[in-house]
């Protein structure tokens, strides 16, 4: 699964994307963040305040309880600040 990071999430993780094999018990976007936190200090730092992080599945906004299903691309980022 391709996982993309943006803004300070990207900076804390230390890279802009990962391609990872995710265990079967990871069902929702929220589950994925919890699992990522166990994958190293950089992930732990990036997802420490998981509540404020926003997510997208295949480039559309979703809530943390959204099922990842067959999505090919998951993204994590802070609240947007364009405009």
């Amino acid at each position: 699964m391709k996982i993309c990071y943006f803004a300070w999430v990207r900076e804390k993780v230390g890279r802009s994307e990962d391609v990872l094999d995710v265990p079967g018990h990871v069902v929702t976007v929220g589950d994925l963040m919890q699992w990522l936190k166990t994958q190293g200090a950089e992930y732990e730092a990036a997802f420490a305040q998981a509540k404020v992080i926003r997510a997208a599945l295949d480039r559309a906004h979703v809530k943390h309880d959204a099922a990842i299903g067959s999505a090919r691309e998951v993204a994590f980022f802070p609240p947007v600040t364009g405009g």
């Binding site: 993309c4 803004a7 906004h61 364009g82």
Partner: protein
Amino acid sequence: MAVRVQEADFDIAAEMKLLTRGRTDIGAIATFTGLVRGGAEGGGIAEMTLEHYPGMTEDELARVEAEAQRRFDVQATLIIHRVGALKPGDNIVLVMAASRHRKAAFEAAEFLMDYLKTRAPFWKKEQKADGTAEWVDARESDTEAERRWSSGAR
């Protein structure tokens, strides 16, 4: 109906001409231009970097634009958003809504900005004059501004 994400600056007069070319059914065009502010003295901003999510940005802006077209009696709309390194005074975003009458034009332009501010995946990082850098925090007032379009308050 056009959406562009680009590093280059834009020319509002040229964009308006393109939008109205060959038609005489447009009576009103409302626009919004967002610019980089320099910030307070001392803590002033030297540069601003705009990051985005290529692919999703264009999709999201197109969704925002389609929603504006559905809600308001507008004949044409345009969204241009810059990315990359910008200086104080530089243009960031241009939104344009053309209609027969001014009310729909103003409402559509405000709607486009309110939705763009809360939905389009852009992030601003400010480089201060003192060498520090910070990601800009999202403003609660932007979430409130978006919410009014679903509350039936207008």
